[in-house]
Amino acid sequence: MRPSDPLIRAWLALVALSALATGVSLLRPDAPPWAATVAGAAILVLAWLKARVILNRYLGLAGVPGARRGFGAGLGAFALAALVLYALG
């Protein structure tokens, strides 16, 4: 295993994105309302990025462009719907 291994890079990205999402969430209670909303949106975008990494690297869709686009569109639609519902709340 080398740091250049795509699996290791995927794992490092997932760890970094997860730490960032948790960090943003822990800081959010002290933020003004508008910043809390932006933080929530950022958390959802980070989740969408993590899901893409898992699909493309762990599940191997990086080499299947059609399926990668299909899953990407589905996940994007979910993230967008979640974002709209979150922002409305």
């Binding site: 699996l7 794992w11 997860s18 969430s25 958390i43 959802l44 993590k50 599940l59 059609g66 979910f78």
Partner: protein, 182 residues
């Protein structure tokens, strides 16, 4: 993750596992969106309920699960290279990390139960218990599956179990922010 692809779809691994992945994403995705719709009716109540959860512990559990995903992918790689002993070791590591995830969930559940937080405490907690327990059941099923395929460590079986494990990982990275962080 793999060299083996389905001949008609070009998808890596077992087609039936992809059907399962899409089904599970649809079920959990729909439940999470319903959760967010219900939140619109009582945002303050949902926020107060969420503040009772252990965000940091759930964040640590996310690290544990994505690390187990890496380990499972390495097991698939080893099995495909006919390195069965190595594949078994990676599978054992993935099972161990799954166990760590469940222990941390157990601590979280015990604490919630001790504080009297149940299914009917608030609609937030109805979804919290149902979704996280359903996910934890998948983790347990995945651990059993990984253990079964470790016996012979054949590439196609290890790959199918790996797909299931990544699905569990995938569901968690969508569930975790909506239930614990937003």
């Amino acid at each position: 993750m793999t060299e083996a692809v389905h001949p008609r779809t070009g998808l890596p691994g077992e087609l039936i596992m992809w059907v399962l992945i899409v089904s599970e994403l649809a079920v959990f995705g729909a439940a999470l969106l319903i959760f967010l719709v219900l939140r619109l009716g009582d945002p303050a109540g949902f926020a107060a309920a969420q503040d009772q959860l252990h965000r940091l512990s759930a964040g640590v559990n996310t690290m544990v699960l994505v690390t187990s995903g890496l380990v499972a992918a390495l097991a698939v790689r080893a099995a495909e290279a006919e390195q069965r002993a190595l594949a078994r070791r990676w599978l054992a590591a993935a099972i161990l990390l799954g166990g760590v995830f469940l222990v941390l969930k157990g601590v979280e559940y015990a604490d919630a139960a001790r504080r009297g937080i149940g299914l009917e405490t608030h609609v937030f907690f109805t979804f919290y218990w149902l979704l996280t327990l359903f996910h934890a059941a998948h983790v347990l099923a995945g651990m059993i599956l990984l253990g079964i395929v470790a016996i012979r460590a054949q590439a196609d079986a290890v790959e199918a179990a790996g797909q299931f494990w990544h699905m569990v990982d995938l569901v968690w990275v969508l569930l975790f922010p909506v239930i614990y962080l937003l």
